[in-house]
């Protein structure tokens, strides 16, 4: 477990360093990026260089960046002249709402599909559906849903981030590809588990088919699925950026896109490092979850 934590820290450090290298490699002058459309005189330039400590050697700036990141200070936005943490924090809530509701919906959908589509024909329909869902760009799913449910049927608002009604379509859009992949993994896991001897034992004890499936086979199938939690998070966060654009929702996606187009590197960096941080934390939690799901691991 300690080793896992150490590895996680190293990965985080490497992620922060890679992101910082990207910042150094970014084209254009940092001073230009900070000035933006503002007044540009030699005096202002000198002030900026002093204020942002741009006259220090790159190594010192890098160590300073790490030190501050360690304390949760991700720097200041060039463009908005506000702390990055504030910029991101203010937009985090809508994105987290979207990602978590989509995550829950996707997982529930996958569980239901993996258990209910055991008959050969149902399984065939379901696996074709999964293939289509996995291969469809999420923004196409969003645009189709938008076209049918918002423009044709007028059931949901076309854009915006206010209220529950505006959350339904984006969450479904994001949940469908997730459900597609998870169902495949769970189904394979259940298939493999049903071949194990303990299933024969369970049946011999007179357990019903449903109970065998849910209480024994599914539990085994969960293990490989839990490994995917980091991937799931990546899909949800990356997908949220696109889905927010499709549905015109406020959130991290808008912040990131604005930052990328205006070369506001501290914000881009912070979003990327933040997402790596959450990924590492989730993967460590997943390792803990193994212990809960699989009693065999507790003993070793």
């Amino acid at each position: 477990m300690l080793r896992r934590l150490a590895t996680g820290l190293v990965v985080l450090w490497a992620a922060a360093t890679a992101a910082y290298l990207a910042l150094l490699a970014a084209p254009g002058d940092t001073v230009d990026a900070i000035i933006g459309d503002g007044a540009d005189t030699p005096l202002i330039r000198a002030q900026i260089i002093q204020e942002w400590h741009l006259d220090r050697p790159a190594v010192v700036q890098y160590l300073d960046f790490l030190w501050r990141a360690l304390h949760g200070d991700l720097g200041r936005s060039y463009l908005l002249q506000r702390p990055v943490a504030e910029v991101i924090g203010g937009q985090l809530a809508p994105t987290l709402t979207l990602a978590s509701s989509a995550g829950v919906l996707g997982v529930v959908l996958a569980l239901v599909l993996a258990i209910t589509t055991r008959r050969p024909w149902a399984r065939r329909v379901s696996s074709t559906l999964e293939l289509v869902l996995v291969s469809t760009p999420p923004f196409l799913i969003g645009i189709i849903l938008l076209s049918v449910f918002s423009f044709r049927l007028g059931l949901f608002p076309v854009s915006g981030g206010q209220g529950f009604a505006s959350l339904v379509l984006p969450a479904v859009t994001l949940a469908l590809p997730v459900a597609g992949v998870l169902t495949q993994v769970l189904r394979d896991g259940v298939d493999r588990a049903l071949d194990e001897p303990f299933v024969v034992t369970a049946r011999a004890r007179g357990l019903g088919e449903r109970a065998v499936l849910v209480r024994h086979a599914l539990r085994h199938a969960l293990l490989p699925a839990v490994t995917l939690i980091g991937w799931l998070f990546g899909i949800l966060l990356g997908g949220a950026v696109i889905i927010e654009t499709v549905f015109g929702r406020p959130g991290l996606g808008q912040v990131t896109l604005n930052a990328v187009t205006s070369e506001d590197m501290p914000v881009v960096l912070a979003v990327v490092v933040f997402s790596a941080f959450v990924y590492v934390v989730l993967n460590t939690l997943a390792d803990l979850a193994y212990l809960i799901i699989d009693p065999r691991l507790r003993r070793s």
């Binding site: 590895t7 190293v10 990965v11 985080l12 490497a14 992620a15 890679a18 990207a22 490699a25 970014a26 084209p27 055991r118 008959r119 050969p120 399984r123 065939r124 293939l131 289509v132 996995v134 291969s135 469809t136 760009p137 999420p138 923004f139 196409l140 645009i143 189709i144 938008l146 076209s147 423009f151 076309v158 298939d191 049903l194 071949d195 024969v200 049946r203 088919e209 980091g230 998070f233 990546g234 990356g238 997908g239 950026v241 696109i242 654009t245 499709v246 990131t256 896109l257 990328v260 187009t261 070369e263 590197m265 881009v268 960096l269 979003v271 990327v272 997402s275 790596a276 990924y279 590492v280």
Partner: protein, 281 residues
């Protein structure tokens, strides 16, 4: 065993996969042909016709026309060049760098291997799209930016596989023998190790190509790809989004084509995977 009869058989169902794979292959061949010689299949993708704006699909315009009266089918066919080029080039970058770094990690000293492996972990720790956005911010939007961004972001897939394969091959008898025969190091790597670790890479690349095309379409949709009026698939969807209430075809039909390409790649890739499974070092 009467118990076994009343439950679904655990045996995998054999799908009539010949038909699906053939269809997928034919569609991919068409897509590649369209990318290579778009003029053969479609007219000018930039020819605007203000008299026929946002017309529904018809015999004259199979996919309808867009807000400038341009034929959507022509644009989709010409868009194949942009989208497939980015996808294929990004996959080549990823596979090439991945094989190189994977070999390096697998063959080098414990500490260098550890450093490289953590590097792969760090790259894999970023969501693909966000990492690609970071690289686009550095390399700038456009075709080259997307290729570099997606190529680097997907490199760990290949590097990890090659690394673990290299570990296996390193121990193999023929390598020991080659060492005993006094083969030089470069010869050892090129003649004996590389050919035996590279086996799974082409199949991985076919499946990875689908992922790269999806990522490229996504980034173009966000405006990070080839700039308008270039007919790129993701960018077409983004333009069409604004006219969704009156003309669904300008965005949905290009999207369906992207989906079909990715599905075909997945179907072909899975078939190849099953075929070559177990045939590694």
């Amino acid at each position: 065993m009467t118990i076994a009869l009343d439950r679904p058989l655990p045996v995998r169902i054999r799908r009539p996969r010949g038909v699906g794979v053939a269809l997928a292959g034919a569609f991919l061949a068409f897509a590649v042909a369209a990318a290579a010689l778009p003029g053969l299949f479609a007219g000018d993708p930039l020819a605007a016709d203000p008299r026929h704006v946002l017309e529904a699909p018809s015999a004259a315009h199979w996919f309808g026309t867009d807000q400038l009266g341009r034929d959507v089918f022509d644009r989709v066919v010409h868009g194949a060049r942009h989208s497939l080029t980015i996808g294929i080039a990004a996959t080549l970058v990823a596979a090439g760098l991945g094989v190189l770094l994977g070999l390096l990690a697998g063959l080098s000293h414990k500490y260098a291997d550890e450093a490289l492996s953590r590097g792969f972990d760090a790259l894999a720790a970023f969501p693909l799209l966000l990492l690609a956005l970071l690289f686009v911010a550095v390399a700038g939007p456009g075709t080259m930016g997307l290729i570099v961004a997606i190529g680097i972001a997907t490199l760990p897939h290949y590097a990890r596989v090659v690394r673990s394969q290299t570990f296996v091959v390193r121990q193999a008898g023929y390598v020991t023998q080659a060492v005993a025969f006094g083969d030089s190091r470069p010869r050892l790597v090129l003649r004996h190790v590389l050919p035996n670790v590279i086996g799974p890479i082409p199949v991985l690349a076919v499946i990875g190509l689908g992922e790269a095309i999806l990522a490229a379409a996504g980034l173009s949709f966000l405006g990070m790809g080839p700039q308008p009026p270039s007919p790129e698939w993701g960018a077409m969807l983004s333009e069409g989004r604004g006219y969704l209430s009156i003309a669904w075809w300008t965005s949905i039909l290009p999207g369906v084509v992207v989906t079909l390409v990715v599905i075909s790649l997945t179907v072909v890739g899975r078939r190849l995977h099953r075929r070559f499974e177990g045939r590694t070092a």
